[in-house]
Each structure stands twice: as C-alpha cells, then as structure tokens.
C-alpha cells in the first residue's frame, strides 16, 4: 500500500516522461507509437481534469447555503447556473441549439465583460498606482507612453511618434523580451527535470 501511495506516482511520472523524451531524441519506431498513445492518454486525463473544479465550488457554495450564510442566495445562483449548463450540455452536447443559446447569451457576455472591467482597473491604477518611484519605473513609463502614442490619431499630429515606437519595439523591446525568453528556457528545463525525477512533488497533493 505504501508503494502505491508514495512510490508508484513517482515511477509513473518518470517512465511516461522518459519514453516521451527518449523517442524525441532517438528514432525508435515502437517508442514513437507508444509516445503517441501516452499523449492521447494525457489528453483524456486533461479532459477529466477540466471537471475537477466542480468539487471545491460545490463544497464551498453548498456549505454557505447549508449554513444559511447571508450570501446563500448568491451561492444558489452559482450552483443553479452550474446545474443548468451541466444538464443541458450533457443532454444535447455543446452542439445543441439550447446550449448554443446559453453560451451566446450567458457565458459569452459575462466572460467578455468580466475581462472588460480590467479597463477600469487600469484607469484607476494609471492615476493612483503607477507612481514613478525609481529610475527603472521612469524608463518603463516613458516607453509605455511612446508605445501608446503610436496608435491612430496621434500619428496625424506627431508623425515622428510611430517611428520612435517602431524603433523601441524592434530593438530594445525585442532584445529585452528575448532575454526573458532565454532566461525562462532553462528555468523551464530545471522545473520539468525536477518534476520528472521526483524532486518536486507539490502537484501530487497532500493527504495521507
């Protein structure tokens, strides 16, 4: 039992990852087929994982309703909407017309709007949070302002603005971002490697 609880997960992780890495570098037809199968399994598990979020949310909101918390009515709406989407979605799949209606007139507007509200956050942050506290922030803000000036109307008043922002974009921005990309590459390799050989286990979760 102890093996299944603590050793097996590490073995599974290592073996699956090893097959995928080995067939990537070396041309072994049988392993290629195996790797393709493993990737398909990953897709299936990832699909299962999409439904995992339900557990925590149902627990949280059901708890609020059971406790008759003052926010119980809102929780009821969360659970009600969830149930509505699940029932219709499973009954007629996402291809059904009723599900399409739910998607177009409920999911789509709330998802799009909840992101659109960040427009206001940026407005107030522009006024209250983006304070130039040091020389780095000063350089950042100047670059940001020059980038914003490239769009539309400004080009008409300031013909030089698009030229400056194009230079900023092509030279220092590409160079700076390239450094972030390169810096992230080996940190990605390091993290992946630690997960594969079992030195990092946070994702496996606690429990007994």
């Amino acid at each position: 039992m102890q093996f299944i609880k603590s050793k097996l997960p590490l073995v599974v992780t290592f073996v699956a990852a090893f097959i995928i890495i080995a067939q990537f570098y070396f041309d072994i037809p049988a392993w290629k087929t195996l790797a393709a199968e493993l990737l398909r399994w990953n897709v299936i598990l990832a699909a299962f994982a999409l439904t995992l979020g339900i557990g925590g949310i149902v627990k949280l909101h059901w708890g609020r309703i059971a406790r008759k918390s003052p926010t119980a009515i809102y929780s009821a709406f969360t659970l009600g909407t969830l149930a509505l989407f699940l029932v219709i979605g499973i009954a007629q799949t996402t291809r059904g017309t009723t599900y399409g209606w739910l998607y177009d007139y409920i999911y789509n507007p709330v998802a799009a709007t909840s992101y659109a509200t960040t427009f206001f956050f940026i407005t107030s942050a522009a006024y209250r949070a983006f304070r130039i506290k040091n020389s780095y922030a000063a350089v950042l803000m100047i670059s940001a302002i020059l980038m914003m000036l490239q769009v539309g109307a400004f080009a008409a008043f300031m013909p030089f603005a698009p030229k400056i922002s194009a230079w900023l974009w092509n030279i220092p921005t590409s160079a700076g971002m390239r450094a972030v990309v390169i810096g992230g590459a080996l940190s990605m390799v390091g993290n992946s490697f630690r997960v594969i050989v079992g030195l990092e286990r946070g994702h496996l979760g606690g429990g007994e």
Partner: protein, 198 residues
C-alpha cells in the same frame, strides 16, 4: 428562447458587471456568481464531451480496449475531492504533470534557447544591430544570479533597463487590449442591444 430575450439577458449581465465601477452592489455580486457557475459548467461539459469523443466512443465502438487505462486513471483524479483518499489521484496527477513536463522540456531548449541565441548572432555593421546584441546579452546576464563580480554589475543594470523598456511596451499594448475589450462590450450594448447608429 429567442435572440431578443437573449440580447436583453446579455445586456442585463453586462451592465451588472460594469455596475461595480460605481460601487460594489448586489447586482454585480449576482452576475459574478453566475459567472463562476457557467464558467465551471462550460469547462466540465467540454471536458465530458472530450472524454466521450476521444475515449469512450473509440472504446465501445471500435474496441480500443487499451483506453480503459486512461479512463480509470481519469476517474481516480476525482479522489482529490476527498482529503482521505487524495493519495489515489497521485499516479494520475503524476502522469499528467510528468508527460506535460517532458513535452515542454523537449520544445523549450530549441524554441527558447538555441534559436533565440542564433537569431541574435547578427553582423555588428549597424548601430541598431550593435544595440540589439548588447542589450540582449546584458539583459540575459541579469538571469545569471551567481554572477556578482563588480565589473558585471553595470552590465546587468543596463540589461534591467532594456527589460524595463520591453515591459513599458507590453504595458502600452495591454492598455490597448483592455480598451479593445471594453469597446467590444460597448459595441454590443450600443449596436446590438440598443440598436443605436449603425
């Protein structure tokens, strides 16, 4: 359920979320809670449909019995819902994260390291190229943390300024993105719902 009803419902939900900018209120909270429900619901439905299309149907209709393994592993993931039986999900989780780590590692070195470095090996025959190579090299050194010699510090600092210019550009672009998102909702409210103008 007609498109007109739908448009009114969508407008109600949209305005509810925007009402937050005045102050937090029950309307906003209601829509926020609906969002949590439908986002999760949609995720779960697409996930379920995927499992049916990629695993269950090929298993039952074409007899791909090997797919029983990922199906069982997938079901075991649900043991994460219980503190006591969480351990049963570990192998599935390990598989999921391990394969993903392997795939990412395979792609990262070439796409993010060697190709990027090769692209920086440009002839130093113009001011722009010289600036580009110097900034890329110095900003990359920022991520070499054990480099702490005195001579290197100004170079690293130069690199940090290059990154700040890059972040500034991202900042400007993100503002652009946010305005676009808001414009998109305004276009819905003005043109689709209220049918003003165009």
């Amino acid at each position: 359920m007609s498109a007109t009803t739908g448009t009114w419902l969508a407008a109600f939900l949209t305005l509810g979320l925007f009402s937050w900018m005045w102050k937090e209120n029950p309307w906003f909270r209601l829509v926020e809670h609906i969002y949590v429900g439908c986002a999760l619901g949609h995720l779960a439905v697409t996930g379920y449909q995927n499992v049916v299309d990629i695993a269950i149907k090929p298993l039952t209709q074409t007899g791909k019995y090997i797919l029983i393994i990922p199906l069982i592993m997938g079901l075991l993931l649900f043991s994460r819902w219980s503190r006591k039986y969480m351990w049963a999900s570990r192998s599935s989780m390990g598989f999921l994260v391990g394969t993903l780590a392997a795939v990412a590692m395979n792609g990262a070195i070439k796409a993010q390291l060697t190709q990027q470095v090769a692209a920086t090996m440009m002839p130093l025959n113009s001011i722009n190229n010289i600036i580009f190579v110097v900034l890329t090299a110095s900003a990359t050194l920022y991520f070499v943390f054990t480099l702490q010699q005195k001579w290197a510090l100004p170079i690293i600092d130069l690199g940090k300024y290059a990154m700040m210019i890059a972040f500034g550009a991202t900042f400007g672009n993100t503002v652009m993105s946010r305005i676009s998102l808001f414009t998109g909702r305004l276009q819905f409210l003005l043109f689709t719902w209220l049918k003003i103008g165009s």
